[in-house]
């Protein structure tokens, strides 16, 4: 166990796994019945896909991320996890993009049958601190608890069968701001195993009993003080390298007191209302439900699929639109994500992953939008007490 100078939570360390032994982790998980998913380079981005061997993982790639831009580039080294992240979080593994909730037969009467997902344990390798934070935020939406009277049995089934191999980030993308959201780059909780990538090995720790059991099957070597310090320093360096920072001070009042701020018109000029930000967001949970009837009309499937508050249908009521203009829809998204979420779930809906900035086709940066709304207030505070200068 190790505490850092900044008083960060301790990191549990079980030992070192040589990089060329990473395949043993994958094979151990597979032998235990897990379908194993990890990072793969596809169509110019890192996405999650099935992996059966460690040599399928992308080597020596970094993502270069900016507002509206994502490129994979060769790093020239043999590291596996410097890519930071791609468009996908863990969201689709728990909250399926599209699934049938139930089917119904019609034959004079109606008979409903729930269609819960098949229980198949899934292990995801490469989840980041922001992604774990995203899961913890979505748990509050979909699992029964203080903020929610009803568990979503589809989400809950997948949640119970998910094994997470997290990677503490030792590199940040330019759009990352998890440090300011207090969610990363160190994964604090919610993982089964966590890795920190060193030169030719991973520092490995368990975060659950299931994780400990898997680690017991791995050829771990003892970790020395030097390696532990090196790992902690690498994570701290990733945090320090982040240049973006979301100022969340008093953000509920800030946004809800500025619902008619001219900045909403300004951002509406740039926003295409495409919904990319909601799709890549680890916490956006909106979904719509539709029926798909069989051709013979005897059965219908009630499906849900991810929806976005940027679609016109989202606010449809009695043939009218509640949020007809883009300014209404962007305002809905941002005020919900950063402010209303706190009222609803006791936590921000933003985990600081920066995906909405990277994957916005016009490069809208929510931090800039918040700052633009905050700035006049800050200026007023700074100058407010002073008498006006005489001219």
């Amino acid at each position: 166990m190790l505490g850092t100078a900044k008083g960060e939570p301790v990191m549990s360390v079980a030992g070192l796994l040589k990089r060329d032994q990473l395949d043993v982790l994958i094979q151990t998980l597979r032998a235990r019945g897990y379908r194993v998913v990890g990072p793969r380079a596809k169509s110019g981005a890192i996405v999650y896909d099935e992996v059966s061997r460690a040599d399928e993982l992308p080597v020596g790639l970094v993502s270069v991320q900016e507002p509206g831009r994502y490129r994979l580039e060769d790093s020239g080294n043999g590291r596996l996890f410097d890519y930071v992240h791609g468009p996908e979080s863990l969201k689709r593994f728990l909250f399926a993009p599209q699934e049938t909730l139930w089917t119904v037969e019609q034959n004079g009467e109606v008979r409903f049958k729930e269609t819960l997902p098949e229980i198949r344990p899934l292990a995801v390798i490469g989840a980041r601190a922001c992604d774990l934070a995203g899961v913890s935020v979505q748990d509050r939406t979909f699992l029964k608890g203080r903020y929610n009277d009803f568990s979503d049995p589809y989400y809950a089934t997948r949640r119970e069968n998910l094994f997470i191999v997290a990677v503490h980030c030792t590199r940040s993308a330019a759009t990352c701001f998890c440090a300011s959201m207090n969610t990363g780059p160190r994964a604090r909780e919610g993982y089964d195993i966590a890795l920190t990538e060193l030169e030719d090995a991973f520092l490995v720790g368990a975060g659950s009993a299931a994780g400990e059991a898997v680690l017991a099957d791995l050829p771990l070597q003892p970790a020395h003080e030097g390696e532990i310090t090196q790992a902690a320093q690498a994570i701290d360096a990733a945090a320090r390298s982040q240049t973006r920072r979301l100022d969340t001070e008093n953000i509920q009042a800030l946004l809800f007191n500025n619902l008619e701020h001219p900045r909403w018109d300004d951002v509406a000029e740039r926003c295409l209302s495409c919904g990319n930000c909601t799709l890549v967001c680890p916490t956006c949970f909106c979904h719509r439900e539709t029926d798909v009837a069989s051709l013979d009309g005897k059965e219908s499937g009630h499906q849900r699929q991810w929806d976005s508050c940027f679609t016109l249908e989202h606010g449809y009521l009695h043939g009218a639109q509640i949020r007809p203009q883009i300014r209404h829809r962007y305002r809905q998204w941002l005020t919900h994500k950063l402010a209303a979420w706190i009222e609803q779930f006791g936590v921000s809906g933003c985990v600081g992953c920066g995906r909405c900035i990277t994957w916005c086709p016009t490069g809208i940066d929510l931090i800039e939008e918040v700052n633009a709304i905050r700035l006049p207030a800050a200026l007023r505070r700074r100058h407010g007490a002073q008498p006006e200068a005489k001219t």
Binding site: L101, W102, V104, Q106, G108, E109, V110, R111, F112, E114, T141, F142, N148, D149, F150, S151, D152, P153, F256, L259, E260, F285, C286, H287, R288, E289, T290, D291, A293, G297, S300, H302, R304, D307, C309, H314, G315, Y316, L317, H318, G319, I322, R323, P324, Q325, R327, H328, R331, Q332, T335, H336, A339, A340, W341, I342, E343, Q344
Partner: protein, 283 residues
């Protein structure tokens, strides 16, 4: 909330049957439903102001408030305007037809907070439907509530529904009904004008009780501002709101109103909770 006392899966409807279908007006009808499963029927209870999700086979679900008597939960009435795909399909159902029902959902009218106080109900158009079960509830516990006044406004006299029901309320003890239409006709015996104008003719004591409103949002804002001018406290003014709903349990995100989920935090809110939000367009 007992919605899921009889179902682990909050999204899964129960089979129900149309017992009776009543034409209320042009494109407005009431479906009287009965849950098909005896166990589900026995467990079903609702509070005035709650709603159900009705499922039309092969088409989808729609949120509809319950308009019947909470003391008789075996028969569940829903008054519906045929305006969208699901409601137009529901319009074609006949007695004996099958559909799905899940619920009840949401927070209804403040039956406890209003106990012992006078009740001022102000409704517009089809907004009279969600308050109906509250009226039934109060009239069956007449001694538990003070005087009851219903102010109901419609655009055209032909839009008025529940004629017989309203007549029976007029005859109830300590109960007053004021009807108004934006435009009158020679046959119209009610007032002519906006529903806010009916407030002029109400005994001042009514403004010391609890107000419950349902109707178009601009109407409810106008009424609330009027009631505040008459000295009512914002916390004594309640209103029922409506938004697109798909899940009814706070999971789908469609009914959000600022930080509120209308499906689970509402549909009934006190004016204190939502007045600032109601003033904003496009929220």
């Amino acid at each position: 909330m007992n919605a899921v006392a009889w179902s682990r899966n909050p999204y899964l409807p129960h089979a129900a049957q149309v017992v009776e279908r009543v034409e209320e007006g042009r494109d407005i009808f009431t479906l009287r439903l009965r849950l098909s499963d005896a166990g589900a029927r026995a467990a079903y209870r609702f509070q005035p102001g709650q709603f159900n999700m009705l499922y039309l086979y092969g088409v989808g679900e729609v949120a509809i408030s319950i308009v019947s008597d909470p003391d008789d939960p075996g028969l569940i009435d829903h008054t519906i305007r045929a305006v969208g795909r699901v409601t137009q399909g529901l319009q074609r159902l006949k007695a004996g037809d099958a559909l799905g029902l899940r619920g009840p959902f949401g927070r209804g009218w403040p039956v406890e907070a209003a106990r012992g106080r006078s009740l001022l109900l102000i409704t517009g158009g089809l907004g009279c439907a969600p308050t109906t079960s509250m009226i039934h509830y109060a009239l069956q516990r007449r001694e538990s509530y003070g005087a009851l006044t219903l102010c109901h406004g419609v655009k055209h006299p032909g839009d008025l529904i529940y004629g017989e029901r309203i007549q029976s309320w007029c005859a109830a003890p300590d109960t007053q009904v004021l009807l108004t239409a934006d435009k009158g006709t020679p046959e119209w015996r009610g007032r002519v004008g906006q529903v806010t104008q009916t407030l002029e003719d109400i005994a001042p004591e009514m403004f010391k009780g609890v107000a419950m409103m349902c109707g178009p949002e601009p109407m409810m804002r106008a009424v609330a501002e009027n009631l505040l001018r008459r000295g009512m406290a914002p916390a004594d003014i309640y209103l029922s709101l409506e938004r697109n709903m798909q899940c009814a349990v706070g999971h789908c995100g469609h009914c959000m109103f600022g930080g509120k989920f209308i499906c689970k935090d509402g549909p009934v809110f006190s004016y204190t909770e939502v007045s600032a939000l109601l003033a904003v367009k496009g929220l």
